[in-house]
Structure formats: C-alpha cells, structure tokens
C-alpha cells in the first residue's frame, strides 16, 4: 500500500489535470440529467395518456433501456451512429446517458404524477381548466416536488455512470485516473485519488438536492 504522504503528494501534483476531468464529468452528468428529465417527462406522459399505442411506445423504450447495460448502449450509440454521421464524442456519451437516465426518470415521474391525489385533477377540471392546463399548473408542480428525492438519487447514479464515457476515450475522471495510474505504474494511488473526487462531487450534489427540497417544501409542511 502506498503511504499517505505519497498519496497526498500525488493528489496535489495532479490537481490541475483532475480538475479539468472533473469539469468534464460534471458537464456530462448535468447535460445528461437535464436531457434525461425532458425525455423522462415525455415518456411518462405517454405512459399515462390512456392511448394504448403511446403507452406501448413508452413501455418498449423503458424495457429496452432498462434491459441492456449502459456500456452496451454507449458503444451502440457511439460506434453505430458514427457509421451514419459523425457525432462528437461528448454528445454521443451525453445522449446515451440521457436516454439511459430518461427511462428511469420516466418511471420516477410517472409514479410521482400518479401519486398526486385525483381530487387535484378534478378540482382543476371543475374550474373549467383543460386536461393540459391542469397537468401543467396543478399536477406537475406537485409531482416534481415529490420526485425530488428519487431524482436526486438518479443524479448521483448518473454521475457515476459518466465514468463509462472513458470507454469511448473521453477524458473524464475515471479515464484520467486509469491512464495516469498505468503510466506511472501506480494504479492504486490514482484510483484512490479519483474516488476522493467522486466523493466530493456526490457531496456537492447531495447538498444541492437537499437545499432544493427544503426550498420547495415551504408550501407543504
């Protein structure tokens, strides 16, 4: 085992290169989560639409995404799409991650929407609001509030999933760690260092999600 002073020394030396990698990891995560929420919302709405064909589309999408490993999805998207047109690797990774997140997020949002009391929907309709208006103004705001804890969870999962972008040569945290580690014949130290960076990012995200939950709970408790 390397000594703590050795670990600390390398940690300081590599600050710059890991910081850059950390930014890329964050970018991948944030973009894929934001896109994932949009995709997830679309498929959640398809699922509750009461129109059989739309529900089926949603079911197929969720099944395909949840039924195959993320790394397979990343490779298919990256190598498959680049046969058709040139997709820059950041967008290939982000898209794959977003589509992946989207499936899980669609189930999170569907559950949250359905957990809002039906009386809320009836109240909106009885005031002359259309289904869409009621959904937009009354149901979705309440559903999002309820979805925050599982969405926060998905955010953290997505952060760690971003490490798979290493396999399409993106210089995010995991790739940098394994490359430097093998170049210096010191894999362990660099893995431990990158673990610290991930822990920091997760701590940051947890903090942000908790603050958001608190802010939005003003009206409820």
């Amino acid at each position: 085992m390397p000594s703590f002073s050795h670990f600390f020394q390398i940690l300081m030396e590599t600050k710059g290169v890991f910081f850059k990698a950390m930014l890329l990891t964050l970018e991948l995560t944030v973009v894929s989560i934001l896109l994932g929420i949009i995709i997830g919302l679309v498929f959640a709405l398809l699922k509750i639409s009461n129109i059989k064909i739309l529900e089926l589309i949603s079911d197929i999408y969720v099944y395909l995404v949840r039924g195959t490993p993320l790394i397979v999805q990343i490779f298919i998207l990256y190598f498959g799409i680049s046969g058709i047109f040139l997709l820059p690797d950041f967008w290939a990774a982000s898209l794959a991650l977003a589509l992946h997140n989207g499936a899980y997020i669609s189930e999170i949002l569907r559950g949250a929407i359905q957990s809002v009391d039906n009386g809320q929907f009836e109240a909106g309709r009885s005031l002359g609001m259309t289904k869409t208006l009621t959904l937009r103004r009354i149901i979705l705001p309440q559903a999002f509030r309820r979805a925050l804890p599982p969405l926060g969870n998905q955010f953290i999962i997505s952060l760690k999933d971003s490490s798979l972008a290493a396999f399409i040569s993106m210089n995010e945290l995991f790739n940098v760690a394994t490359t430097l580690g093998s170049n210096n014949f010191d894999e362990m130290t660099y893995l431990l260092i990158v673990a610290v960076y991930y822990l920091l990012l997760v701590a940051l995200m947890t903090f942000v999600v908790n603050r958001t939950e608190l802010k939005l709970a003003v009206s409820d408790r």
């Binding site: 009386g119 009836e122 109240a123 002359g128």
Partner: protein
C-alpha cells in the same frame, strides 16, 4: 336551468343511476339526500360531467349537452363545484388558488382577478388569509376558500358534494352559514348533504335517493312532515328525523 331525463350510469356491473329525471330551476336550492351508495354523489358529478352518463339527456339552459362533441370545459366554467375534501392546490397560496382559474382559463387580467379574489375572501370571512398556504388552515377555512375559488369563475350554478362531511362538528357551522348566504343571494345550488338541519332551513327542494333512484321529492315541509313513500318514512325514522 338544468333538466335531466332518463339518466343512467353504471360502473362496470354496478348500475348506479337508474332512469333519473330531475329539473333544477334558476335560484333553486336542491338538497340531494340518501344513504351511501344511493347514487347522489354520482348524480351530482354527472351535472358537471366529471362522470360520464351512459344514456339519458342532460339539458343545460335549454341546450342538450353532447359530451362527445361539446366543449365540456366551457360548461364547467359555468358550473362550480365544492368537494368533500376541499381539493385546494397545496402549492399555491389562498389568493393564488382563487385567481388561478379566472386568469388561466378566462384570461382575466391578474390585478382585476386579485381584487375580485379579495372581495370573495371578505365575503367568506377570510380576507386576512390571502397569502397563507392551505396547509395552515383549518378544515372550515379550507372549505370556505374552496367556495370562494369556485365563485371566482362566476358560475351560474354551484354544486356541493358533501361539503361538511369531512369537518369537525364545530367547523360545520361556518361553512353552512356561507352556503346559506349564497342561497339567499339567489345562487342556484345542488347540495349533496347529510346536514338535515341545513336542508330543512335552506332548501327549496329535497330529493331523496335510494339505490340509484329518486324515491321522493318535495319541499322541506312536505318531505319531512308528510312523506309519501314508505322508503322515505323508513329513512326518516332510521335517521331519527321523524
């Protein structure tokens, strides 16, 4: 103003409304009473099309409504509803609850809607609660806000689905008082209720339902003092009103 003829409604195998005929005239206060399962709430909910009838006619203001082709949203703008469980929007303040529909559905200017909302809050005795969230209100207060919210759309008719059934006994009075004031102003009201005192005092017509049918209809005087049907008499005895 509303005429129902030969209305039928089933939920699966359960035939809940059987050939209902009923007419509500302008400024009438009609109280629907009966035991649970009699179909009174379902009938009420058919009046604003929250439930879809299976067959029969619903004629509003002389025009028969076809649920498939007519714009039900437009009809619901004119038919207000107050629910047993209030159904206030928890993520909005009291004021925001009341102005939501006028602003978003009718396109009323927000400032005007706020003025109207404050007038309505004053009317139901809650003008100091406009910036409070529903979770901070008592049941009776919530229901009065719900009434104000429904009134904000200036409906022609107000439907009440057991408005006081979920309230502590002490809070029932304030809501019934608000409803009585509304009746005295000439609002057309259809109220599903178990509050017989209210029905006796405020209703123009009592409609007693049992097992999906209207058994008897009459003025409070006729209904409580000279019931014609056997079933009605049984009901009044069982509820110790005779």
């Amino acid at each position: 103003m509303i005429k129902i003829s030969q209305l039928n409604k089933s939920f699966g195998d359960l035939h809940v409304l059987k050939n209902i005929d009923m007419t509500v005239y302008e400024s009438d206060v009609v109280c629907l009473i009966g035991s649970s399962g009699s179909g009174k709430s379902t009938l009420l909910r058919c009046l604003n099309f929250l439930e879809r009838k299976d067959n029969g006619n619903i004629i509003i203001e002389g025009n028969e409504v076809n649920p498939r082709t007519d714009d039900l949203n437009k009809i619901r703008e004119k038919v207000g509803m107050v629910f047993q469980n209030f159904n206030l929007f928890p993520h909005k303040t009291v004021l925001e609850n009341i102005i939501e529909a006028p602003v978003m559905v009718k396109g009323v200017d927000k400032e005007k809607a706020i003025i109207k909302a404050k007038q309505l809050l004053k009317k139901v005795g809650l003008e100091d609660k406009s910036d409070v969230y529903p979770s901070k209100l008592s049941g009776g207060q919530k229901q009065r806000v719900a009434i104000a919210r429904a009134l904000a759309m200036e409906p022609d008719i107000m439907l009440f689905d057991e408005p006081t059934s979920a309230l502590d006994p002490e809070l029932v009075g304030e809501v019934l008082t608000t409803m009585k004031d509304l009746a005295e102003e000439g609002m057309t009201m259809v109220v599903v209720t178990h509050e017989m005192g209210f029905a006796k005092e405020v209703a123009d017509w009592i409609v007693y339902m049992h097992d999906g049918r209207i058994i008897e209809r009459g003025t409070p005087e006729q209904f409580f003092n000279h019931p014609k049907e056997e079933r009605t008499r049984e009901f009044l005895t069982a509820t110790m009103l005779k």
